[in-house]
Subunit: 132 residues, 2 copies
DNA sequence: ATTATAGATGAACAAGTGATCATATGTTCA
DNA sequence: TGAACATATGATCACTTGTTCATCTATAAT
């Protein structure tokens, strides 16, 4: 990679005549275009961002970590986190909507668990990065 | 703590006499305690949440994905994302503070790149989950 | 059928966040 | 030295998000 035609290479902001953005002053046009070519579709990007956003909260992370050792019900989680059951329920809904957790009913009680193995690996990998 | 006796919750089940939480109505005491025992320290937990929060934004994700193919300077990224350079700079600062990206200076220009391999794997793994 | 339990859901508000603008810094070149 | 360039930073504001309270649904027991 690294086609270094850079270094004092700029002879002007490249008029470029783009339709929607004509203000651009970009130095490595090639890299920008390669990035554009390999860009992820907006739908995936948004879902990815939503997923990470859901992981970006200590309470939800603690829920996921607790569930990585086995299923638990809402009031267990509330006891563990020391927050209200309603609060837990709201968090669980977000996690459920993003397919990070799933539940099964047994009588009155709903047992939550991680939806798949990706979730565990995602959290573990993040933790690895944080701890280095 | 919160000595709340919410909802007609009279004479809670499980007297239990826990030191720090006496309001808890929890069903699987053992699971809660095991979760507590394996809990991650608050410092790590917060850093982890901050890291994921930083990944929870389409613009920042696009920056990281673009950088995974090689270093780029601020104005390249601004051109690619079609947002202001100031905006890019703000995003880069967050990513830098969390050790997700690093930069090197070459004359006037600052080249940004991913800080380490974890970052790339983190994004890739998330994408894998989203796409299944 | 009535009551109790376990949880879900909606509204409302404080706190946090992203985008933008103006200004400040650091680097190169004339 | 000073102007131009590339980027950083601070302040502001609109918007989003987490938490809480109150209400609602579903299941089980009486």
């Amino acid at each position: 990679m690294e086609t270094n035609k850079d270094k004092t290479n700029q002879e002007g902001p490249l008029p470029h005549a783009d339709e929607d953005t004509c203000w651009v002053r970009c130095i490595h046009q090639d890299r920008v275009e390669e990035a554009r070519k390999n860009a992820v579709p907006d739908r995936d990007l948004q879902r990815l961002a939503d997923t990470y956003k859901a992981l970006g909260d200590p309470s939800r992370l603690r829920i996921l970590m607790a569930l990585s050792r086995g299923e638990m019900c809402v009031c267990d989680l509330a006891a563990y986190l020391e927050i209200s059951e309603s609060g837990v329920s709201h968090q669980l809904r977000r996690l459920r909507d993003l397919a990070l957790v799933k539940n099964r009913r047994d009588g009155k009680i709903l047992y939550y668990s991680l939806d798949d193995d990706h979730v565990f690996r995602l959290v573990a990998l993040g933790l690895e990065h944080v701890r280095e």
